[in-house]
C-alpha cells in the first residue's frame, strides 16, 4: 500500500516573503497542492526527512503546521495520484526532449534541468530514461 505524506500549515500573513519562501521550497521538493488545501508527497525516506524539517521551519517562523502520514480510503486511487506526480516530471522531460532535437543545444543546462527533474521523479517515469539516453548519446568523444 502506498503511503502519502500530507502537510498543511498556516503562516502569519506578514511578512509575505515567508509564505513565498515555503511555497517555493514545496515546489522545489516536487510536492503537489490538492484543492489549494493540502500538500501531498509520496512517503519515501528523503521526502519524509525534508517535510519534517520544513514543518519545524514553519513552526519556527511562528506558523502552525501539521505533518501527517496517510493512506487514502476514498477519492482518487493510489495509481492516479502517482500519475499526477509522473505528469509533473513528464512535462519537464518532454520539454527537455524537444530541446535535445534542436541542432544547437546547451547540454550543460539541459543536464542540470534533468538532474533537478530526477530529484522529483518519485515513481521512475519512463520518459526520464529517454532523456538520459539522449543526453549520454550526445556527449562528445568516441563511445
Amino acid at each position: 500500500m502506498t503511503n502519502w505524506l500530507l502537510l498543511h500549515y498556516k503562516l502569519p500573513s506578514k511578512p509575505s516573503a515567508l509564505r513565498v519562501y515555503i511555497w517555493r521550497k514545496l515546489k522545489r521538493l516536487g510536492a503537489i497542492l490538492l484543492h489549494e488545501a493540502v500538500w501531498v508527497l509520496p512517503d519515501q525516506p528523503r521526502t519524509a526527512e525534508q517535510v519534517q524539517w520544513l514543518t519545524a521551519e514553519i513552526q519556527e517562523m511562528g506558523g502552525e503546521a501539521y505533518f501527517w502520514r496517510a493512506n487514502i480510503i476514498l477519492g482518487e486511487d493510489n495509481e492516479s495520484i502517482s500519475q499526477r506526480f509522473n505528469e509533473q516530471v513528464d512535462e519537464v522531460y518532454s520539454d527537455l526532449l524537444k530541446k535535445l532535437e534542436k541542432p544547437r543545444v546547451d547540454l550543460q543546462e539541459i543536464s542540470k534541468q534533468y538532474q533537478q527533474a530526477t530529484a522529483q521523479d518519485f515513481f521512475h517515469s519512463k520518459l526520464g530514461l529517454r532523456v538520459r539516453e539522449k543526453l549520454t548519446s550526445k556527449r562528445g568523444g568516441k563511445s
Binding site: R24, K25, R28, L29, P45, E49, Q50, Q52, W53, L54, T55, A56, E57, Q59, E60
Partner: protein
C-alpha cells in the same frame, strides 16, 4: 557527555556525530531514541531533533548549528556545512556537486551497518577523508587564505 538523537541516522547526523567526537567532546557517548520521541533532558544533549538548539534552523542543517553555537571557525568545516546544507535541506542555490553523492553514501552506509553505533564509527572514516581532502585542495588553491 551523552548526546541524543533519533535512530536510523543519515548524512547530517553522521557528520554531526563526527564533528562532536572530533571537535567538541572527545568522550561523547551517543544515545538513539525512536523517531518522533521527545528527548528527556536527563538523557543528554539532543541533536538533529526538530525544535532543539542543535537542529535545523533557518534552512541550515544541524552540523551548521553545531559549528555556530560552539563558535568553531574552520574554513574546511564551513565548507562541509555548505555541502550538508545542500544534501539535507531544500535549496535553490546548489554549488556543491558532492552533496548528493555524500547523501547517497551515508544512506547506504547506514543500510549496510548493523546499527546506528556501527554507522557512526564507519561514518567517521568518511568524514575524516572528506575533511582531509577538502583541506588539502584549499591549501593548493589558497582559496581559504590561512
Amino acid at each position: 557527555m551523552k548526546w541524543v538523537t533519533w535512530e536510523n541516522i543519515g548524512v547530517d547526523r553522521m557528520a554531526s556525530a563526527w564533528l562532536i567526537r572530533r571537535w567538541i567532546d572527545s568522550d561523547a557517548e551517543f544515545v538513539f531514541i525512536p523517531v518522533g520521541e521527545k528527548p528527556k533532558p536527563k538523557t543528554g544533549e539532543p541533536f538533529d531533533i526538530p525544535g532543539e538548539r542543535y537542529s535545523h534552523h533557518g534552512g541550515h542543517c544541524t552540523f551548521y548549528a553545531l559549528l555556530k553555537e560552539n563558535n568553531i571557525k574552520d574554513p574546511t568545516l564551513s565548507r562541509i556545512a555548505q555541502i550538508l546544507d545542500e544534501a539535507d535541506e531544500i535549496q535553490e542555490v546548489t554549488i556543491e556537486p558532492a552533496a548528493l553523492g555524500l547523501d547517497l553514501i551515508c544512506r547506504g552506509l547506514r543500510r549496510i551497518s548493523k546499527d546506528d553505533f556501527e554507522a557512526i564509527e564507519r561514518g567517521n572514516l568518511i568524514y575524516d577523508a572528506l575533511y582531509a581532502q577538502l583541506k588539502s585542495d584549499s591549501n593548493l588553491s589558497g582559496a581559504d587564505g590561512d
